[in-house]
């Protein structure tokens, strides 16, 4: 879109032309018209008019059409030959093309096009007014209020409902769903095998995606491809699809890809700033997902210091920084050893409420302090 206010702030000349249909504001320079090959254009119009007359008067005889075509070609040739000193190559070709395509009126249109030039700046459209939040349907509210949380369904509901809930969780595949599936596996209950199979399916799909990314990067090594591969790993770590035992190895691979993305990004200086910010964001997400909030914090601080305020990723980085800061201060010690006991089973700390309403899934997650800590 063209910024209308920028164009309006100038003093428009009487010869300024505007294109309101496209929203464009254009202007003409007074000296530009003086340099136009008016004589050549006038001769061209004259020849074209003659061609028209021959064609009309010829009573549809083939010879008259042939003569008219010859005259029209002459009109074009006049412009090409006589306007050579006044019009640059591309402009001359444009005028000739217009005259050739649109006999008689082509001259007028070519005059308009020669006399105008863009005068506005590109700008974002004004943001639409925020929508009023809609109140949910009362039936939906009642359903949510009365719904059992997913973990309770998985424990006490009839077998077919438990299976359906589990299948729905597997289809979701997000962090909440994966946490519930892992919790179900850890219970060793009747549904543990099915939860494990669902997790395996998610893991298989992730591995297939990862293999595709690796192949893509090997075939066409670009910063974007390397960053996309790292982002895929970061997302899988965030969602918990990657098992804790594999986090270290995959995080290392993602770090290598990000280093590669940075190296490849330096070869494209035009996009350097936006690429750097995007890489920083993925790197920070990765470290957060790999339970290294301190590293994430350092990366974000560095990234925010170097990023311009207009960069769209700055907002995301700021949000992530808050989260990293909280995590880094609450539990600065990273558990390196797999054999160290986890702080508590997921199910002890967390309760996911996923209600199914009219086919939609509404989820919320609650964290509970372990009972031992309360005492």
């Amino acid at each position: 879109m063209i910024n209308a206010s920028a164009a309006a702030s100038r003093q428009p000349s009487s010869r300024e032309l505007s294109n309101s249909r496209s929203g464009a504001e254009c202007r003409t320079e007074s000296d530009q018209l003086a340099r136009l090959p008016v004589a050549a254009l006038a001769i061209s119009v004259g020849i074209d008019l003659a061609a028209l007359a021959v064609a009309v008067a010829g009573s549809h005889r083939p010879l008259s059409f042939l003569a008219a075509a010859g005259l029209h070609a002459a009109a074009v040739a006049v412009v090409l030959l006589l306007a050579a000193d006044r019009l640059a190559g591309s402009r001359r070709t444009l005028v000739a093309a217009m005259i050739f395509t649109l006999p008689v009126v082509g001259v007028g249109l070519s005059l308009l096009s020669l006399g105008t030039e863009p005068g506005g700046d590109l700008a974002e459209p004004a943001p639409p007014a925020p929508e009023e939040p809609k109140l949910p349907d009362i039936r939906r509210v009642r359903s949510v209020a009365g719904a059992l949380p997913a973990c309770e369904i998985l424990m006490v509901a009839p077998l077919d409902e438990r299976r359906a809930t589990l299948a729905a969780l597997a289809r979701r595949g997000d962090a909440n769903a994966v946490a519930l599936l892992r919790w179900l596996v850890s219970t060793g209950s009747e549904m543990a095998v099915e939860a494990a199979l669902a997790l395996d399916e998610l893991g298989t799909a992730f591995e297939a995606d990862l293999a595709r990314r690796r192949a893509q990067l090997a075939q066409e090594p670009t910063a974007a491809a390397a960053r996309a591969g790292a982002a895929l790993i970061a997302l899988a770590l965030e969602n918990g699809i990657v098992e804790p035992t594999m986090v270290k190895v995959l995080a290392e691979e993602a770090r290598e890809w990000l280093a590669r993305a940075s190296a490849l990004g330096k070869q494209q200086p035009r996009k350097k700033n936006s690429d750097d910010a995007a890489t920083t964001l993925v790197r920070a997400r990765l470290e957060m997902a790999a339970m290294m909030p301190g590293a994430a914090l350092a990366i974000l601080d560095q990234g925010l210091a170097g990023a311009s305020a207009s960069n769209p990723t700055v907002k995301q980085m700021t949000v992530l920084r808050k989260e990293a800061s909280l995590l880094a201060h609450s539990d600065g010690q990273r558990r390196d050893s797999w054999s160290a006991a986890p702080p508590a089973a997921v199910g002890d700390q967390m309760m996911n409420v996923i209600a199914y309403v009219g086919g939609d899934e509404i989820s919320a997650r609650f964290f509970f302090e372990p009972f031992a800590q309360k005492e």
Binding site: S143, D160, V185, D200, W338, Y356
Partner: protein
């Protein structure tokens, strides 16, 4: 030809799917017609090994083997050499092979053919098979009349597909069981559900003195129907619980579309399976119930399975537990009474010179089985990686890996990614006598098992086991209630898909030689007391005697 002289077999089938046997040109009536689904002799694994063992172990009996497969291309080369007491091997397929796309002229001709068939096929509304299908879906009663209707076999696939009566039945089922389901979805699922059934029911009945299905499902139903048609007894053996396995698959199946925006789901507090999933689950439950109803004997492997079968409608009085068994000599020489540990450090400074020498060598951990997803080899590899972070191990994956090449490649890629190529090795299939001589601990991380032979073989060799809590594994490791439990545990039970558990168990066994020794001894005692091959064979010998001699065979 004795049983030991098994025939190298390249099966050739005639147009009816019968195996052509040059040695036996005149077909004889077999003592037992064994019905299997997609296993023996084309797929290796637990059920196939069991079938092979039963047939080889009873040279005095003759067998027909009927394998039900999905389509003709599903079976390629047999994995087992058929023993000489197998008279015929026959394959029945649930669906045709994929047809190539036809051109315009051929399609026009096909359309005309279908139309003329439809005009000519005035589907009698009194089809007994159609009535039985109706009852399977809309009536809870299972009785002999239902099986008799199925056995009537008066409905072919073309008539079913183009007849008005079957369309009316589809509408009726839709109204009652899937009122908000897309009719097109219902139609295609209805078709996919019943066409295999009709194809199987219309197959010629092989003569046999008794029918023995090695699962419920299609095999069980066919056994029940053939038993009724011929007046011969029918028995069913279940290793895993077929209905449960199908329900697990159906819950995750992506080829069944769920109802979207169904109004009754708005008020539901919990998600319910879609009508189509319920339709399929109910269908398989009914097939199992028909088999349970008609079977004179229902055999299962463990107490846990027995309880599930009763829960699924099997009469308790018919159920008999016959556990799998192994020959004690098959896995090599028995360990000495007070076995010295082969590898790993001895605790509390009690190391003997041999133990001290062995302590330098890493513990030899074995996975024995097919490298397929259901065995969850991925978890095994992850667990070994975790344990390898703490101490050296020599990990060997023994078994065929050509059955699911993609999965095997995934396992190899994981090993490479973990940088464990030197410690975790694929050795391929090996004879049992060789396997257990070079393994200190057997690990099983399966998602699903019946009563794994590999555990029994390990016990016979005095090797402790780490296994997931699936099938009868817990019962096999911790013992059945009673004197078996007094023998003590013979391994460690872990949770499924939990590498941390398996790794912890491995480390515990690697660091505690006495524990390993004690578990191995308990395993040997357990297999000697409860899981011997000759006991299993004797049970089946007695069963077949009862079935075959139930009443005189009428030619």
């Amino acid at each position: 030809m004795s049983v030991a002289e098994a025939r190298p077999l390249e099966p050739v089938f005639d147009e009816n799917g019968w195996f052509q046997d040059d040695d036996e040109p005149a077909p004889r009536v077999a003592d037992v017609c064994l019905l299997v689904e997609g296993t023996y002799p084309f797929v290796s694994g637990g059920v196939s090994s069991w079938v092979h063992d039963i047939i080889r172990g009873m040279p005095e009996r003759t067998f027909d083997v009927l394998n039900i497969g999905s389509h003709a291309g599903a079976f390629t080369k047999p994995r087992y050499e058929l023993p000489s007491n197998v008279l015929t091997l026959r394959c029945l397929f649930c669906r045709d092979e994929e047809l190539p796309l036809v051109g315009h002229a051929e399609r026009t001709e096909l359309d005309q053919h279908i139309r003329s068939h439809r005009r000519g096929a005035s589907q009698p509304s009194s089809s007994r098979v159609l009535n039985a299908i109706r009852r399977l879906h809309l009536d809870d009663r299972i009785d002999d009349a239902l099986v008799a209707d199925l056995a009537a076999g008066d409905l072919g696939v073309p008539t079913f597909l183009h007849g008005g009566a079957s369309f009316d039945l589809l509408l009726e089922i839709g109204q009652h069981l899937a009122p908000v389901t897309s009719f097109l979805d219902l139609f295609w699922q209805f078709r996919a559900m019943h066409v295999p059934l009709l194809r199987l029911l219309s197959a010629p009945t092989p003569a046999a003195r008794c029918y023995h299905a090695v699962s419920t499902g299609y095999a069980g139903l066919l056994g029940a129907v053939w038993g009724l048609r011929t007046g011969r007894p029918f028995a069913v053996t279940e290793h895993g619980i077929y209905t449960r396995e199908r329900e697990m698959e159906l819950a995750r199946a992506t080829w069944i579309r769920d109802d979207e925006g169904a109004p009754d789901r708005l008020s539901a507090f919990a998600p319910t399976p879609s009508a189509l999933r319920q339709l399929w689950a109910r269908f398989f439950r009914k097939l199992a119930t028909v088999a349970y109803h008609r079977a004179s004997h229902i055999i299962t492997l463990s107490e846990a399975n027995r309880r599930k079968q009763i829960n699924d409608g099997a009469p308790a009085a018919k159920i008999q537990i016959v556990p799998n068994g192994v020959a004690l000599a098959a896995t090599g020489p028995a360990p000495p009474p007070g076995p010295e540990p082969a590898h790993g450090p001895a605790p509390h400074g009690s190391a003997t010179p041999s133990e001290t020498a062995a302590a330098a060598a890493p513990l030899r951990v074995g996975f024995v089985g097919r490298v397929v997803p259901i065995k969850d080899v991925i978890t095994f590899i992850k667990a070994c990686d975790l344990a390898l972070r703490e101490m050296p191990l020599d990990v060997r994956i023994i078994g065929p890996f050509d059955e699911e090449p993609t999965y095997a490649a995934r396992c190899r890629a994981l090993i490479k990614m973990l940088g464990r190529e030197d410690s975790i090795r694929f050795l391929g299939p090996m004879p049992p006598a060789l396997i257990y001589q070079q393994i200190d601990v057997i690990v099983l991380t399966s998602y699903s098992e019946g009563q794994p032979l590999v555990i029994l073989e390990a016990y016979a060799a005095g090797i402790p086991v780490v296994a997931t809590d699936v099938g009868a594994c817990r019962e096999m490791i911790e013992g059945m209630p009673g004197p078996d439990q007094a023998l003590g545990p013979s391994g460690l039970v872990t949770r499924v898909a939990t590498p941390r558990d398996t790794a912890a168990a491995l480390l515990r066994l690697a660091s505690d030689t006495l524990l390993r020794r004690r578990l191995g001894r308990a395993g040997r005692a357990r297999v000697t007391a409860h899981y011997q091959r000759h006991d299993m064979l004797e049970s089946y010998r007695a069963l077949y005697r009862t079935l075959v001699e139930a009443k005189p065979w009428q030619e």
